[in-house]
């Protein structure tokens, strides 16, 4: 579904991302971990054609993302608050995204009804604009909005950050469900090793822009990652 070829990004001669080849097949739940500055957000941003790579290209569903815009029809993403429209209520925002993705109100409502638990009665019908919601609630809205219109590819940057424990657990459930759906390719980045090993079938570790590990998740993966990040493996 997604092919990354010789992708690199330099800022003023400093390389922040340098990936030879990563191929993500359709239906995979793909996790990206790494410390700050490892290049996770840079990778996602170039995947969404928000920044221009220095070399190489990314193909999403067969389309090169910086040449064609066709990938936008089957890709949904939530990176940060700049994916929300602050002066809309959550409902209006969902309907707006629905409009863009060819879903009518009934479709959107049907989808939302499945997330009542997740929203914890703090989102729908609260007569608040998105800009006035707390960071965590904003995040919930952004994540659920990516599910509108049955996209084939869903990209979430740090979905677990800023969420309360209950919501984190519920979100894990949601992502796991996506992962079992063989039509949806999910890309998730996280600092939380436990969460990411729980929900992802495959985990790639980035360090300073380079891929240092590419693991198919197994019961030992968490240990392996923990020892890597605690520095033991490096020695």
């Amino acid at each position: 579904m997604i092919e990354i070829h010789n992708l690199s990004k330099n800022y003023n001669g400093v390389s922040v991302l340098n990936l030879e080849h990563i191929s993500i097949p359709k239906g995979q739940a793909f996790g990206l971990v790494g410390n700050n500055g490892a290049g996770k957000t840079t990778l996602f941003s170039s995947l969404l054609d928000l920044i221009q790579p220095t070399t190489g290209y990314i193909k999403n569903g067969g389309y090169e993302v910086n040449k064609s815009e066709e990938w936008k029809t089957h890709t949904a993403s939530f990176i940060d608050e700049s994916f929300l429209i602050g002066y809309l209520t959550p409902e209006e925002y969902f309907y707006f995204i629905g409009d863009l993705r060819g879903q009518n109100k009934a479709d959107v409502d049907a989808l939302l009804s499945g997330f009542e638990d997740f929203f914890n009665d703090e989102i729908i019908g609260k007569r608040k604009y998105l800009r006035d919601l707390s960071k965590g609630n904003q995040k919930k809205v952004g994540i659920v909005a990516t599910l509108i219109g049955n996209p084939d590819v869903i990209i979430l940057d740090e979905p677990f950050a800023n969420l309360d424990p209950t919501t984190q657990i519920r979100l894990k459930g949601i992502i796991k469900e996506m992962a079992t759906n063989k039509d949806i390719t999910v890309l998730v980045s996280s600092h939380d090793l436990q969460h990411v090993t729980e929900v992802c079938e495959r985990i790639v570790v980035l360090e300073k822009g380079e891929q240092v590990k590419d693991i198919m998740t197994s019961p030992e993966t968490l240990k392996e990652l923990e020892s890597y990040f605690s520095g033991e493996a490096v020695v």
């Binding site: 969404l48 029809t73 929300l84 608040k128 006035d132």
Partner: protein, 490 residues
């Protein structure tokens, strides 16, 4: 400490994403400032003799009209003087006193051009008063009193954050008072003039404005000092949301999604509301030009066309100019969603055209000044819709200044919805119709002048898709730069 603050300001300017545009505009602004300095200075030097020639007592006459001077000053300040926006939040935890932050911010307003410009009038005027045998002590008292009043205006303006209604009411009241005075019903200047004259005549009266100034300055200081908390002056105000379906907009087809969104954008954000409000004010702008013998400089065919374009173009210039910056806060979303740029642009264009059409309907009462005026406004509107609507969208593609929609966030606020920048970018769009009209006017008469402008406007519609394609290309080409620039808040 002041040095450090200045250093921060300096960096904010030079490291800004729209640095080049800023420099260019600063140069233009500098030229504009120079113009005003020259005007004020020559007025200061010459007014005395002009009034003497007209057989009016100079100081008394100036005092008589000073009240209008101060009101105009306050209104001009409200719309054009920038508030001292410094990034306050990160400063709060730094190891220096909060009073320093407030002092710096308020001190910055004191050095504003809007205060200094008055010196160019009052200093030469006072010097001439002295040379003409007015009592030195009296002139000094008068001068100090006036200076204090100017600075009182400065502080009033600081408090007037987002009180557009008040400012407009004030303006309206004084327009009415001016009218009453002109027609001889009631003369407010007989009261205020006495006061200003008293600054000169009476030994103690000048103390009053100085004391008031001290009071206002102290109040401003404590007011902002108290509000330097996250849940006070620096907080956001939460309003209960209203939901509108706006289904009636569906008739506009696929673009209606954006149209609905744009309407919500305009209705629910301070910054855009001010924009709409200002475009209503523009409707009245023509009164300055078309009123018989009102202001002589504004007479003549060119200037009338200039005014006509402005009357219906308020929204066009203040809103259209900043597409796509209005969407800067969520531009990454727009760039990753399945959006057809054409529909997006068409919605903004439609909004501009509808607003222009509404303005031209509202401008019908101008027929009072003769059919020529109305004709000028109508062809001006056609030109606005057909040509300028495209030009502003084209220009907007290059303006990468992010717009902070909720500009009430900062304690000192930034209410510059229609600022000097906007004005400067707008000017070239006036010149086209002025030139066209002039060509017609001086060859075959006014009617052909109007016809030329109208035809040019209609012809513009034919190029709509072409221009849209051009804009789309720019959007695509500049996409990464724009995203980068919009990331920068402030």
């Amino acid at each position: 400490m002041i040095k450090r603050f200045l250093n921060l300001e300096w960096k904010a300017f030079f490291r800004s994403a729209s640095f080049q545009v800023n420099v260019f505009l600063k140069i233009l602004m500098g030229l504009g400032a120079l113009y005003f300095i020259v005007v004020f200075a020559s007025l200061g030097a010459g007014l005395y003799f002009i009034l003497e020639k007209a057989e009016l007592e100079p100081l008394k006459t100036v005092n008589k009209f000073l009240i209008y001077y101060f009101v105009v000053d306050l209104i001009a300040r409200y719309f054009f003087q920038k508030m001292p926006v410094i990034n306050i939040k990160p400063m709060l935890l730094m190891p220096f006193k909060k009073s320093k932050i407030v002092n710096f911010a308020l001190g910055k307003t004191a050095l504003s051009f809007f205060n200094i410009i008055h010196a160019f009038f009052f200093i030469p005027f006072s010097v001439i008063l002295l040379t003409q045998g007015y009592s030195p002590l009296g002139v000094i008292r008068w001068h100090l009193g006036i200076m204090a009043l100017i600075y009182i205006n400065n502080f009033i303006n600081v408090f007037l954050n987002d009180e557009t209604v008040f400012v407009v009411l004030l303006g309206a009241v004084f327009v009415v008072l001016g009218g009453l005075q002109y027609y001889g019903y009631f003369d407010i200047t007989s009261y205020t003039g006495t006061f200003f004259q008293g600054l000169y005549d009476m030994p103690w009266l000048a103390i009053i404005p100085i004391l008031v100034l001290a009071g206002v300055a102290y109040y401003a200081f404590t007011y902002f000092l108290k509000r330097l908390y996250l849940d006070a002056g620096l907080s956001k105000k939460t309003k209960t949301a209203t939901t509108e379906n706006m289904e009636w907009l569906d008739r506009f087809g696929k673009g209606s999604t954006f149209l609905k969104n744009d309407l919500k954008l305009i209705l629910r954000n301070k910054r855009s509301k001010t924009t709409v409000f200002l475009s209503v004010l523009f409707l009245f702008y023509g009164l300055l030009f078309f009123g018989e013998g009102f202001i002589e400089v504004y007479e003549g065919p060119f200037m009338r066309m200039f005014a006509a374009v402005f009357v219906t173009g308020g929204f066009l210039f203040s809103f259209g100019q900043f597409v796509p910056s209005w969407d800067s806060a969520y531009y990454p979303l727009m760039m990753t969603q399945n959006i057809r740029y054409k529909e997006y642009l068409r919605s903004k264009w439609l909004l501009v055209v509808i607003a222009t059409a509404i303005s031209s309907v509202l401008a019908i009462p101008y027929v009072y000044f003769g059919w020529e005026v109305l004709a000028a406004i109508f062809v001006g509107a056609i030109f606005n819709m057909g040509v300028n609507a495209h030009l502003v969208l084209l220009g907007g593609a290059y303006i990468k200044t992010p717009i902070d929609l909720t500009s009430g966030k900062k304690a000192f606020g930034d209410k510059s919805a229609f600022n000097i920048k906007t004005l400067l970018i707008s000017l070239p769009k006036m010149l086209g119709p002025m030139a066209l009209y002039a060509i017609g006017h001086f060859t075959l008469g006014p009617v052909s002048g109007f016809a030329l402008v109208g035809i040019a406007g209609l012809a513009g519609f034919a190029f709509r898709d072409k221009v849209f394609n051009m804009i789309i290309k720019i959007y695509k080409k500049e996409k990464y730069k724009t995203l980068q620039a919009y990331k920068q808040k402030n």
